[in-house]
């Protein structure tokens, strides 16, 4: 994943990759942001956990309801007060809410 490309998305404060276990692998931080490597490490773990839970919910929902369109999962986002973290696969981005384009961000993470 080209983190620099993700940093070009509007409002991106950080872009990062992580292992399947949620250990931070690589990251880029926007100059001046208050985010830190330590925070990205914790966010990485939450991304893995949330994607796993969302995957379980998608599979369970389809199985229980017979509705389709949830799988395969294309990502998960936590919307905070000032910024959102958007994750898919082994990659995540932190995006400022006032500039965020969720659709473009999900799309970029799948590229």
């Amino acid at each position: 994943m080209d983190l620099q490309k993700l940093m070009d998305l509007p409002g991106t404060l950080a872009a990062f990759t992580y292992t399947d276990k949620g250990e931070l692998q690589s990251h880029l931080l926007r100059e001046g942001t208050e985010l830190s490597e330590e925070m990205l490490d914790l966010l990485s773990r939450s991304c893995v956990a949330n994607l796993a839970i969302a995957g379980l919910e998608a599979r369970g929902w389809e199985s229980l309801t017979g509705q389709t369109g949830f799988q395969p999962l294309k990502g998960f986002s936590v919307v905070g007060l000032e910024w959102s973290v958007v994750a898919d696969g082994n990659c995540g981005v932190v995006v400022r809410n006032r500039d965020v384009d969720y659709e473009a961000t999900f799309k970029a993470l799948q590229a």
């Binding site: 208050e34 985010l35 830190s36 330590e38 925070m39 914790l42 966010l43 939450s46 956990a49 949330n50 839970i53 969302a54 919910e57 998608a58 929902w61 229980l64 309801t65 509705q67 389709t68 369109g69 949830f70 799988q71 395969p72 999962l73 294309k74 990502g75 998960f76 986002s77 936590v78 919307v79 905070g80 007060l81 000032e82 910024w83 973290v85 958007v86 898919d88 809410n97 384009d101 969720y102 659709e103 999900f106």
Partner: protein, 134 residues
């Protein structure tokens, strides 16, 4: 206009509703059965509590980092997306610009979720606000 009605007026919104943090009280409009809406309400409650717990952990690393209080979350599926802001949820099709529009409307109509949201919402149901929420 009520937020659920406003959301349901948008082409591509499959269903929208309001859920309670207890998970067993809800209202909704759209293409869900009553049982599916009950399940969606429980799912939304579980995810909301989970991401709030995570944000509290993150806060212990960096106070006022900009994540807390959590406003909502999004599950992006292959063709369908589920999004929640505060105690409202919506199921939407993955159409161009729909997710951004729905999130903008939900954030604007719900307003900034405050730190004591769980207690406040629970109180609105007429429950004992001192009762354990987790």
């Amino acid at each position: 206009m009520h937020i659920v009605k406003q959301l349901m007026a948008i082409p591509g919104v499959i269903a929208a509703g309001e859920y309670a943090y207890r998970g067993d009280r809800y209202s909704y409009q759209g293409a869900l059965t009553d049982e599916f809406a009950r399940m969606a309400s429980i799912l939304c409650r579980a995810n909301t509590l989970s991401v709030n717990m995570q944000s509290e952990m993150l806060d212990s690393f960096a106070e006022n980092s900009g994540l807390r209080p959590v406003q909502g979350w999004i599950v992006r599926g292959a063709e369908v997306t589920v999004c929640a802001v505060g105690n409202y949820f919506s199921f939407i099709e993955n159409r161009d610009e729909l997710l951004n529009d729905v999130m903008t409307i939900m954030r604007a109509k719900v307003g900034d979720v405050q730190d004591d949201l769980l207690v406040n919402l629970y109180a609105r149901l007429g429950g004992d606000t001192r009762e354990a929420l987790y």
